[in-house]
Amino acid sequence: MKSLRYIIIFIFAFQSNAQISDFDTINFQEADRIALECKNETLDNLPQLSYKLTSKLTTDVERFRAIYMWVCGNIANDYRLFSKNMRKRQHFKNDSLKLKQWNNQIRKVIFKKLLNENKTLCTGYAYLIKELSNLANIECEIVHGFGRTSTVNIENFTTPNHSWNAVKLDGKWYLCDPTWASGKPNPATFRFEFDYNDGFFLTNPKLFAINHYPVDKKWLLLESNNPSFKTFIEAPIIYGKAYAKLSNHNAPKKMHNNIKKNEKVVFKFQLLKPVEKEDIYLLIDNGNRSKKIYPKSTTIENQSLIVEYEFEKSGFYDVHFLIGAELISTYTFKVKS
């Protein structure tokens, strides 16, 4: 009886969210090679493209991987289309009839662009992944919701601004964000540049929920403790590189923090891969200048990274967390004496 109790505790303790580590034994080389081999394929025959990408692979996760890699590597984000669409949607947000008219009009333009120029916006990526997966008998859905980045104005969070995918593999649902995985606009020219980030493929739902909030909460895919929309709005900003380096972001829970001078601030993350302690630093900006700070206490145990810091002077600070010069997250601290 006693041992049974331990077994139950063990099962609960080790129950993890659906994520990429479930497929640690699978090597995606073959799937990635096939996706690359299909580089010159076009979108005018989706069933044929799906067949070419998946027919030589045996597991669903590899078949899905080939589809995902093809879409991420061949579809560009159209920044002009994106900004025009967002502007119009914002403009018509209180006029459902005009919004519907606009949507019908833009939909045709978007599909034409996708077909002729391989360019789209988020929903286009999610749409292609869903269609190609469904054609390969893989259950896949488009998830609409809110995506939060450093430049998104959360005051405009009245209508969804982002789409991603949920996919069912071996009976379990997983999350991925092909748009954010494929690349980013160049900060100067706004031209889209392919820069694949593997962190958005079958991501830990806990990390995903920090800057993705679905309209339908079931797509949070968290077994318990669904965060509220308020928690999501209050969460820190995490960047693309956070997905490449972390499997979870545990603390601080909030973007804006009020603390006292010399009060200990704790940053706690779960790492995906080992990192060097010397590569970890903070960029602290007081509004006038930015200072690079190596925290006094950094511990890494079992891939769990804990960094402690104390502010010695009162003030208002933007604090950026970096690993090896890659921007991971941002918080603000109002420090009182």
Binding site: L43, D44, N45, L46, P47, Q48, Y51, K52, S55, N77, Y79, F82, N85, M86, N103, I106, R107, K108, I110, F111, L114, L115, T120, L121, C122, T123, G124, Y127, E131, N134, L135, I142, H144, G147, T149, S150, T151, V152, T159, P160, N161, H162, S163, T179, W180, K184, P185, P187, I237, Y239, G240, L283, D285, G287, F316, D318, H320, L327, T330, T332
Partner: protein, 144 residues
């Protein structure tokens, strides 16, 4: 002679009855998978035929819609009148996937009497949104 014959007949009848009972017993416990499958194959072989069709959308004939045999890469596309002739003879039970980017993909199962497919594809009613990710560091707005 007559009695002898009838004796032989009786004996043969007995054996036949025995065999019949044996066969019935055997099949009673073993459904006739083999037989019914053979029958199906013979029937479909006879039924192999060329399938033609016309695909349209709400505006009329749809050019470049793709038609593919499910699970293969055998297929064709429609011409400017929305017409197609499938390049391979098809049999009952085959499934065609008919698709066009932005329209719902339709599965058509070939039935015994299918020879011409007339279909109208309906639009995938999707609302398009998109947020781009960025590495631009967040900067607080300060009053001073």
């Amino acid at each position: 002679m007559k009695t002898q014959l009838s004796h032989t007949q009786n004996k043969a009848l007995g054996t036949i009855t025995y065999v019949i009972i044996l066969v019935i017993t055997a099949f009673a416990f073993n459904p006739m998978y083999g037989q019914s499958q053979n029958a199906a194959t013979t029937q479909t072989l006879q039924n192999e035929r060329t399938i033609k069709g016309i695909i349209s959308n709400e505006d009329g004939p749809l050019e470049s819609a793709s038609i593919i045999l499910k699970g293969t890469k055998t297929g064709t596309v429609t011409n400017n009148k929305g017409e197609f002739t499938f390049p391979q003879a098809l049999k009952t039970g085959d499934i065609l996937l008919i698709s066009y980017l932005g329209y719902e993909t339709i599965k058509v199962k070939i039935k015994d009497d299918t020879s011409f497919i007339r279909l109208m594809l309906s639009e995938d009613l999707i609302e398009f949104v998109g947020a781009l990710n960025t590495d631009k560091p967040y900067k607080s707005k300060r009053s001073n």
